[in-house]
């Protein structure tokens, strides 16, 4: 490219970007900027906001409810990210040694939870966890009836129960992602490992895991962000209960803004949540950046 065309392409680039950028700035960037502004005010969403500086932030960080919410979102990283990624990795590494008939069907099914509205997913799982629901019935039928309980209403079990819905939603996606990653690995590497006398486990760590590093980065990034900003599932299953056993930051935002009518302090949680997600995304980017 000579310098003339490069100059030309520079200018027209803005025209190509303009529609997407203006839509994004107007409906994402601008409300976010306003949210930051309101986070410095006491505001009910209606009357005149009152400047309070960083009071909202201090108040929210000190609030046991918000602390619980932040803690739960870390627990959710386990259920939304680590667990499905492990399931995906292990099963994909066991799976891909053969070309399977009917694989297409399984892929379709495994991806299905990604497609269904969370409203519907929430309804289905509320029923699954019901005292008379399928999970307790299955437990009873295999002689574990003593374990039956109203899962979502149990202070100790509600959080893992809701978290498992997150696992259910993403594990199939992770399996599919790693399957395709493993398919890309040069078979010669496995043969080389065999010659070196590696067992299956060494093979996994020496060949498979490095081979799917890009997929691992993608899967962890998507699922960790999903876990941190989860809202719909909690809203549809427990609304943060029992007590505050399953509340998460996004639910706090919603409830403070719409139930309590304290939009300013809700905004301060929103800003903190966005910051947390950004940091997580950047850290993951650093870890999984491919060597140049």
């Amino acid at each position: 490219m000579n310098s003339r065309t490069r100059t030309r392409s520079q200018k027209s680039a803005y025209l190509y970007i303009l529609p997407a950028l203006s839509a994004s700035l107007l409906f994402v960037g601008f409300p976010l900027a306003q949210t930051m502004w309101y986070s410095l005010h006491r505001w009910d969403g209606l009357s005149t906001p009152i400047w309070v500086g960083f009071d909202n932030y201090i108040e929210q960080v000190m609030s046991p409810r918000v602390q619980a919410a932040l803690l739960h979102s870390i627990v959710f990283i386990f259920f939304f990210a680590l667990l499905p990624v492990c399931i995906g990795l292990i099963s994909a590494s066991l799976l891909s040694t053969k070309r399977l008939r009917g694989l297409g069907f399984f892929r379709t099914v495994l991806f299905l939870p990604q497609v269904i509205a969370l409203t519907v997913t929430g309804m289905a799982w509320r029923w699954m966890y019901n005292l008379n629901g399928p999970i307790n019935e299955i437990l009873a039928s295999i002689g574990l009836g003593d374990l039956a309980r109203p899962w979502l209403g149990d202070f100790d079990w509600a959080l893992p129960a809701v978290g498992f819905v997150g696992t259910w939603i993403v594990f199939g996606f992770c399996m599919i992602l790693f399957l395709s990653g493993i398919a890309r690995i040069d078979p010669g590497l496995y043969d080389a490992a065999k010659i070196d006398g590696s067992g299956p486990i060494q093979e996994f760590f020496a060949v498979t895991l490095p081979g799917v590093k890009p997929e691992l980065g993608v899967a962890l990034t998507i699922t960790i962000i999903g876990g941190l900003r989860s809202f719909d599932i909690v809203y549809m299953t427990t609304r943060g209960g029992p007590g505050t056993a399953t509340t998460v930051p996004a639910l706090e935002i919603y409830q403070q803004a719409f139930v309590d009518g304290t939009v300013g302090s809700a905004a301060s949680i929103a800003v903190m949540l966005v910051a947390m997600i950004m940091v997580a995304a950047l850290v993951l980017r650093r870890i999984f950046r491919t060597e140049q």
Binding site: L95, K98, T108, L110, P113, T119, A124, P187, I277, T290
Partner: protein, 305 residues
Amino acid sequence: MTSIFREPRIADDAAPATASLPEVAPRRRPLRASLTPSALLNYLLLGVGAVVVLVPLYSIVAVSLQPRGIPAAGLGWPADPQWSNYVEAWNIGTFGVLLTNSVAIALPVVTIAVLFSTLSGYAFATMRFRGKELIFALLLIGLVLPFEGTIVPLYYTLRALGLTNTMWGVALPEIGLYVSFGTFWMRSAFSQAPPSIVEAAQVDGARQWQILWRVLVPISWPSITTIVILFFIWSWNEFLVALVILQDPASRTAPAGLGAFVGEYTSDVPLLAAAAVIVAVPVVLVYILLQGYVIRGLTQGAVKG
């Protein structure tokens, strides 16, 4: 989500992923399937995964067919399936109207968001300009934003524009949100086009605009199809924006209408389940018809980007 969108790595041996996507697991040891113990293990694993996915979905369908007014129990298929629950839910919930509204919003969202994403993805993939990194970072915000946090200011923004209670009031914020993902997506798709093709076109005197539409878009259809389907699914399932922006019951979308339905028929569990299935079915159908694109596109494109 940044790591999806690393600078492109052109795979050493593979043809551009946009042009021909490799099947899952075909290249390694392409043996014919036979029921060896390891194949059995494979089916067992996949089978367990599939059952875990399907049981909750099956159970909500089973509940939707229970007789109304009797508390549902267990996993059993109802002895006398009440298909009339669906008719009832459809009529009471005016789902005909709601589904039409959802389609009327999803179609412009998909069309415009894909178009905008294609244009900006093209610029980011092939052009140099000042502020590229900064603008890219700005767009990144849309990938991490929780809508709950900005919905109140968003409402006032839309009201200042006179868009509340209109279809565009829902469509435009969705477009604004989706173009972030779309731009990253199309950037990575276009980045993978072999430079030789673009160069050849340039030598032929093709302009930027023509290169995009005559050269790059035709070989990037799989990637475009993927975001078409993803945007459709996302738009269809969007709940909060539709809830807040659309007040007129006649203009509600299917998920928002489902919310109202849940409030109104709160103790009629089979009817609610039937309504939920009605809302889920269209998007599941779209997915099943086009699932090859979604899965292949996501698994390949996400990493290749």
